[in-house]
Subunit: 575 residues, 2 copies
Amino acid sequence: MGKILRVNMTDMTVKTEELGEYAGLGGRALTSSIIAREVPPLCHPLGPNNKLVGATGLLAGTPAASSGRFHIGCKSPLTGGIKEGNSGGLVSQKLARLGYSAIVLEGKPADDKLRMIHINKDKAEILPADGYKGMGNYETVGKLWEKYGKVGTISIGSAGEQKLCSASIAMNDPDNRPTRHAGRGGQGAVMGSKGLKAIVVDDTGAPGVEIKDKDEFKKWSKIFTDGLLKHPVTGQGLPTYGTAVLINIINEAGGLPTRNFSDGRFEYASEISGEKLTENCRERGGKETHACTPGCVIRCSNVYNDKDGNYLTSGLEYESIWALGANCDIRDLDVVARLERLCDDIGIDTIETGGTIAVAMEGGLLPFGDWEGAIKLLDEDLRNGTPIGKIIGSGAVTAGKAFGVTKVAAVKGQNMPAYDPRAIQGIGVTYATSTMGADHTAGYAIATNIMKVGGYVDPLKTEGQVELSRNLQIATAAIDSAGLCLFTAFPVLDQPETFEAIYRMLNAMYGLNLTADDVAELGKTVLRTERDFNTRAGFTNKDDRLPEFMYMEPLAPHNQVFEITDKELDEFWNF
Amino acid sequence: MGKILRVNMTDMTVKTEELGEYAGLGGRALTSSIIAREVPPLCHPLGPNNKLVGATGLLAGTPAASSGRFHIGCKSPLTGGIKEGNSGGLVSQKLARLGYSAIVLEGKPADDKLRMIHINKDKAEILPADGYKGMGNYETVGKLWEKYGKVGTISIGSAGEQKLCSASIAMNDPDNRPTRHAGRGGQGAVMGSKGLKAIVVDDTGAPGVEIKDKDEFKKWSKIFTDGLLKHPVTGQGLPTYGTAVLINIINEAGGLPTRNFSDGRFEYASEISGEKLTENCRERGGKETHACTPGCVIRCSNVYNDKDGNYLTSGLEYESIWALGANCDIRDLDVVARLERLCDDIGIDTIETGGTIAVAMEGGLLPFGDWEGAIKLLDEDLRNGTPIGKIIGSGAVTAGKAFGVTKVAAVKGQNMPAYDPRAIQGIGVTYATSTMGADHTAGYAIATNIMKVGGYVDPLKTEGQVELSRNLQIATAAIDSAGLCLFTAFPVLDQPETFEAIYRMLNAMYGLNLTADDVAELGKTVLRTERDFNTRAGFTNKDDRLPEFMYMEPLAPHNQVFEITDKELDEFWNF
C-alpha cells in the first residue's frame, strides 16, 4: 500500500503519512472513509474544515487493464453530502508509482493567492501559481507540460476558481488534453476554495508498485483483459462507437430526456448520435477510438475534430452530448462538441451544466435550441463570472430558484443524467437512493434494463428494480474501490471469471486471501459509510425521492410516471 | 367562527366551506394546521400542490386592541419547511367582519395570466389582472382603491410575479400604503406561482363578528388595552421611538450584526438610530407614531418623509434599518428609507434582502457601503428581473453559492435578523430551533436577554437560554394564533392580568372555558404540528444548528462564539 500525502493549506505544510487506519483501502473506499472520519458533516463545503481527497485505486500502477481511475472526494457543495467522482487520465498511475495512495488537502489559506502542488520522487511542495489565474484548463496544462515535462495534471478552470457548485476537476489524458473530469458535485469548487489551481505529478524515476506474486498477477491480469476484450459491450460496442452509441438506443427506449425532461424522444437524435460521431471522426481525421488512460483496452474515448480537421475536443461522451444536445434542443453535433470543449476548459460538469441551461431555457432566459446563446453563456458569462454565469455554474436547482422553474430533475441537489426514470424505472431507484445524488454511475441499471447485461429487468415495470439497483450499487462501490473503470462491470456482470480475476489480482498483488464475498462486503461497507456521513449531515429517507413532477407528469412516448413507491425505495437499504 | 374561502386556481372555482376539523383555530394555528394536513410535505413550493393560506386571528374583527394581524402560511420556497408570517394592515379585520376565518388558495393555472380575487359581502370572484403586470405594490394598491374604494388589499410586486424565494406579500395600511408585509420565506413567490396579483377585500355592509358575552368581553378588552398602555415597552418605548429604538440598544449590547455579521457594533449606529428617525419624522412633517392596523394602541409605526417633506415610506422598522443599513455598511437613514421603500414596492423581504446584499458585498459584487449600487440592485435589477436581480431575490444562501461566500448567517435557508447570536445567545436558540428558520419573532429572547422583560437571562451565558426560548416560542405560537400583535407579549410576560385578558376575551367571544393551561397547550400543539410537517419534509435536528462560522469566528466586542451545544439545542423539544 502507498502513503498519504497530507497538504495543509492553512499553514502550508506538506507531510507524508502511513495509511494507518485506512490500510487496505483504495479509490472510493479510501476517499469516503477519510471524509467520513475526518470531515465534520455540518461544515461548510467551501470552508477550512472540508477536505479534498484524491485517491488511486488498489490496482493503480500495475499493468491491470483499465485500473487507472483517479478518485476525488469531499463534502459536496452541490449536494451537501459526501461525494466521490472518478476519471481516467495520467495522474493515478503516476501517483501510485510514486508510492502514494492518496492526497489529502485540508485547511484554507488566509489570502486569496493561487498555488499549485508539485510532486516528484524526491518531494512534494507548494508553489505559487498566481500566473495561472483565470486560465482555462487547456492553456494551464499546456503551460505545465512546457515547464515540467510530460507530467500528470490535476487542475481547475475559471469555474473552480469562482468556487461554483458545478465546478469539476480536470485530469490530463495521454495527449495532455484536460478532458477527463471528476466533478459531479463541485469538487472543483472545493479545490478552488483551498486556493489550489493545479497539482502536478512527475513520476520520473519513481519506484513503481510492488506486486507480491508476479506470475499469479500476470495470469489473472490476462484473464481480466481477455474478459474485457471478448464481451460485446467492452470489446466491440464501446471501442467502435464510444458511449455515444447510447443516443439512438436510449432514444429508441423512449428514455432520452429532451427539452428539460419534457419528452423521452428527441426528433433529432440521429444528428447527435454515436453513429454520426464516428462518421465525423473518420471523415475529419479524428480518432473514433482512443484510450483516456494508459493501459486501457476498452478505448471508448475519441478525438473529435472540427469541419476543418482541427482538434476540437476529446472524450465526447454520451452524457455530455445528451446534456448539451437533446436536453437543450441543440441539434448539431459540432455545436455540442464546442459546448463540451468549453465545459472542459472552464472546468464545469457537463451533465449539471446542460441540465442547468435547460432549466434556464424553460425559465425563459433563452429559447430552447438557442445554441449561440448557450455558447455565450459558457464562453463569456460562466468563464468571466457575470451574474448569469454564476447562476449557470451553480447548478440546476439554483437556476430553478432564480427562474421560478418547478421542473428541476434533481435528487439531493444534483441534476439527473441522460436517462429518464419514468421510462427506465431501475435507474430511478439509483438516482433516488444513491448517496451521491442523481448519479447513473452509482448503479447503472441501464445495463440490465436496456442492454440486457447481467440479465434483464423490464424498464417499464416496477418489479425487481430495487434489488437490481442494490446489487449494482454494491458492485459499483467495490469496483470504484479497486480503481477500475466502471465499464469493466459489463463483463464482470456476465462472465464469472472476469469478476474472479479482480480479487485474484488483488490477492496476488498484496498477498491477501480475498473471496467473492469480501468484494461484496467491501461494496456494502462503502455504501454504509457514505450513508452514515449523509445522515450526520442531515439527510433522511425523504432525500431518497425523485422530484415531485416525475410522479405527476407522464413522459411520452410511454406516458408513464415514476412508479416505484416510497416504501420500495426505503427497502433499498435492507442489506 | 368564520368560514373558509377556498379558491382553486387550476379550475378557477371559488367555494365557501365550514371550518370543520379546523374549528376553534385561528391565525398561525389555522394556517399551520391546514398546511400540515393538506400540503404534501415533499411537494414543490411553487407547484400546484402547495397551498397559500391566509387566516385571521381568533379575535379579529372585535374591538380588542392589536388583534388585527393577518397570517399567511404555505410550504416555504426559501426554507422548504412550513412557514407562517403575519402583519398588520386592513385586511384581517375586514375579512373577519365578512365572516371569513381563512382563504385557501390551491392549484395552479395552466396559463401565465395574472388574476385577482375580489371579495365582498355578496361573493368572492376571480377577475383578470393582467393590467397590473410588473406593477409595484404602491401603484397597484393606488389603482385598487381608485377602482374599488377603501378596500383591504393583499398584493405582490415584481418579485412575487417572478416567483423569487424572498418575495413577500403586502397588506395595505389605513393610509393605503402597502407597507405591511408577511413574507419571510417567500409567500409572495407562492402567490405569484398561482398567478395571483392581488386580493381585494371590501367589507361594506359586512355583518361583523359575533361576541357571545359582550359585557364580559368589554371588561377584559379594557383590561387588555390598559395593560398595553401601562407597560413601559408598549406604552412608552414603542410609541415614542418605534422599533428602531433598538438600534442603539443592540449596538450597545454588541449584538448589532455589521458588514455581513463580521462585527457586533456599527460605528455609525447613531446615524440610523431610532432617535435619528424620530428627529427626522418631527422635522419633516412625518409621523413618529402611527398605527399599522385599525385599533392598535401601541402605534409603533411611523411615516417617514424625505428631506423635502414628501412621503417616502412608512413602517420603517428596526429590522429593515439594520438589514439595509448596518449589515451593508450603509450609514444614511434616508438611503435606508429609500431602500426599504423599494423593498415594499417590489415586494421583497427586507431582512432577507439586506442579508443577501451583504453576502454579495462580501463576495465582491460591490463594496460594503455602496448605497448607490444597492439602490440600483433593487430598483433596476430586482424589479426588472436581470440575472443579478434574480440572485438577490433568491436569498442569502443562493447568493452565497453564486459568490462562493462561506459566511452566510442562515438557518434552514433563511437569513438571520438583526441580533447576532454570539452576543445574545438566547436568540440563537430561537434561530436554531424555530420551525420557521432563523426568525426572531418565533421566540423573541431579546426581551429577556436585553430588555429584561419577563425576567433576565444573561445574554452572554449559556444557562437558561434553551428554557427561555422554549417558553417564548410556546407563548408566541399561542399569541400568533389569537391573531394578536407579538408586541403584546411584553406586557403579557410581565403582567399576569394582561395575559389572563387574552383567554378571557376568547371565552367571552366564543362561549368557551379556556384556562391559562389551554393557551400554553395551544402553543405547544402549534409547534408540534409545524415540526411534524418539517420532519415529513426531511428536516432533522441537524437543521436545528447555526451555521458553522458562528461556532468558529468570535464576534467583537465580546469575542465570543455561539456556545449552546447541540445536545442543549436538542433539548428544546422536550415538552
